[in-house]
Symmetry: C2
Subunit: 407 residues, 2 copies
């Protein structure tokens, strides 16, 4: 039972540890942990649970022999996401509660006095025969249980055997690395989510002053990302442009109501003030080291530069306009024409396309326009998904209903 | 040379790997990596460099025997931050360029034809005698060099000896773990920084509409954090309140200019509209999963609730006002009274304190007020550090100077 793994096994573990520290996508990480744990212990099957608010949440499951028999698609249907309370009656719950490693030679022969019992519903549903089980708690660096790793049916020459003591040691070591990696990936996801959420607030804050809706901002950003994809940008840069485009009109926060909300057309002097919004946006966003904010500043500054050099604020021409500006002017104008505003109805699509086409080489980079028109089907999907409802135009509804408790 | 470390050494390495994955503070992490590398290879001294934009940046250095001789404070003065080009003439540069591990038995006997040479300026300055050296490249998961680990003077029974082959193996293994951990810590710091930066933009966006300055927002947030500290909140919660307080007036973005910028006193009807800013702020911030945004919403909603129940929007009373509200109303009013506004001069401090004291139990939670007054000295420092300059009141200066290149 207490035999230590040899130094090759440790070297293997070290490399697995390095590999799993470098996976930041939580779902991918969990799959990798389970695959490696099965490989190192020669387990046919396994399941990984995470602890979430006093529950065990089923996250990933793998079963080599069943997958070979049934194929991936059927297997996937067998795995429904489920949660269970952390109670000592289930095997995983017992391990999460007591932090004990359970090495069960045969689940059909669990001693009568044990607090936990084997739940055979999975076996009954799939015809699989669970025998040996190695169940290990995963801790974060403070010793808090973050999940449970459940390995099923150790194989030796095709036969199911109990898990060896060395496997117990190896899996425990892996679980220690995994616990920290899981916490790191979750931290990164939370941070990323909080950041993107804040960007979105900054984008929609302008909504309170403008005739546009939060959905305009979303559609415009999706159109920008669509174009970046067509330009074959790497996925992370496509996403960055999506987020930075959300802030394109943040400078409107600095434009007086009298101009921003004027019902009729603007005088030349008023128009000059209105055009300051791109520079004010650049000022609000300037001086950051964050790539998304640097790019947002560029978008704010250049999303009204015209391809023919008649745009503002710098009257840049053609390829001298940063690519971000050439993308976002098209995304912005396309959405402005094709959606309703407080002061105008949406134009029919053929009319929108006619006007956009007229702007080829005048407003828009011809190459970018061609790429965008090739993806009109996807643009329509974006319009449908983020369509404006009548009430979206009334920013001040329900202000008398205040709740301090989160909705 | 090629002897493998034994399984205890590997187990040790595994635990080091887990420990270093859980350090997210980059500077702390680098110190830990060097300490552990020295322990595992029995090195008297060592230095760690990171690669930054084609340069090697000196990050941390340790020397056991000199520290014992000279003491920490003298040692620290010996280490000035410096950068060097990545060129093959320096030992660390050579390793970064070629990705080779260098195990040099004696730096005084480097063969004549070697591209690199030993720079003895450190030895000359301190009287230290560098002999053996083990220099190892640190890679990220894509194989890119992120830094160089330089271990100096392997010790065996107090004597300086060349580094053993097993040490080479152990240090290389550690360096692999370290490379990924360094990249992870840098990623976390960047994400965190980008997020906080965005929060700050959201806070100051309101500046473009308001009579207040960005420095008001900073001072108010620092005062809030000061009070949270006095309440013995854990450091991370103090910091969270700092960031969430930055967004307290974001709802002013939704108030019409005619009211927000009215020079004289407001009519009762105008005041009612003005007071909507706390609810509008709550709306802009609602629905987020991020803790800082949840708290920011609470601050926005409650920073005008008075202790005697005569505040707005909900007329909450005493301890029914969330603690965040009781803290921020004091921070906000204190700064409003003690700083200049476009429409008023700053009051002298004794006058400010008199008015604040009058508000005890009316506006302010008496306990919180007492805590704050105990830290007046620190509050003054915050005022000095973030004082308003005359030009801070002119939001529209320099709007004609546009630069697309980052300043």
């Amino acid at each position: 039972m207490e035999r230590s793994p040899n130094s090759e096994a440790f070297e293997d573990l070290l490399n697995v540890g390095i590999a799993l520290s470098s996976i930041h996508d939580l779902q991918k990480l969990l799959g990798f942990i389970l695959t490696e744990a099965r490989r190192l212990t020669r387990a046919d099957a396994g399941t990984l649970y995470l602890v979430k608010e006093n529950k065990l949440v089923f996250k990933v499951s793998q079963c080599q022999s069943l997958t070979e028999r049934l194929g991936d698609p059927i297997m996937e249907r067998q795995y429904q996401s489920f949660e269970m309370p952390i109670s000592p009656e289930s095997i995983a719950g017992y391990v999460a509660l007591t932090r004990e490693v359970l090495n069960i030679p045969d689940v059909r022969r669990i001693p009568a006095g044990s607090p936990y019992r084997y739940n055979s519903s999975w076996d009954e549903r799939t015809g699989y025969e669970t025998r040996s089980m190695l169940v290990i708690p995963m801790r974060n660096k403070d010793g808090k249980i973050v999940g449970v790793l459940q390995l099923i049916n150790a194989l030796n020459k095709g036969e199911v055997v109990p898990f060896a003591g060395a496997s117990e040691k190896v899996a425990t070591s892996l679980a220690s690395q995994a616990g920290v990696a899981i916490e790191n990936a979750a931290l990164t996801e939370d941070l990323q989510q909080a950041h993107l959420d804040t960007i979105f607030r900054l984008g929609v804050a302008a909504e309170y002053r403008d005739k546009e809706t939060a959905n305009h901002i979303k559609r415009m950003s999706h159109f920008s990302a669509l174009i970046a994809e067509s330009l074959k940008w790497p996925q992370d840069e496509v996403e960055r442009l999506f987020w930075s485009s959300l802030m394109h009109d943040v400078g409107k926060l600095g434009i007086p109501d009298a101009i921003l909300q004027k019902p009729g057309p603007l005088t030349p002097e008023e128009r000059q003030v209105m055009e300051l919004h791109s520079i004010i946006g650049g000022n609000i966003l300037k001086g950051s080291d964050a790539r998304v904010l640097k790019q947002a500043r560029l978008v704010a500054l250049t999303h009204h530069e015209r391809y023919d050099g008649k745009g503002y604020p710098r009257r840049l021409k053609a390829k001298r306009i940063p690519i971000e500006g050439r993308i976002t002017i098209l995304a912005d104008v396309f959405d402005a024409l094709s959606s309703r505003r407080v002061y105008k109805e949406a134009l029919p699509e053929n009319e929108v396309l006619r006007i956009i086409e007229e702007g080829r080489g005048a407003f828009f980079d011809p190459e970018i326009l061609t790429l965008f028109l090739d993806r009109l089907e996807e643009a329509r999907e974006i319009q449908n998904r983020y369509g404006d409802r009548p009430e979206d135009f009334d920013k001040f509804r329900n202000l008398d209903r205040v709740a301090i408790e989160e909705e």
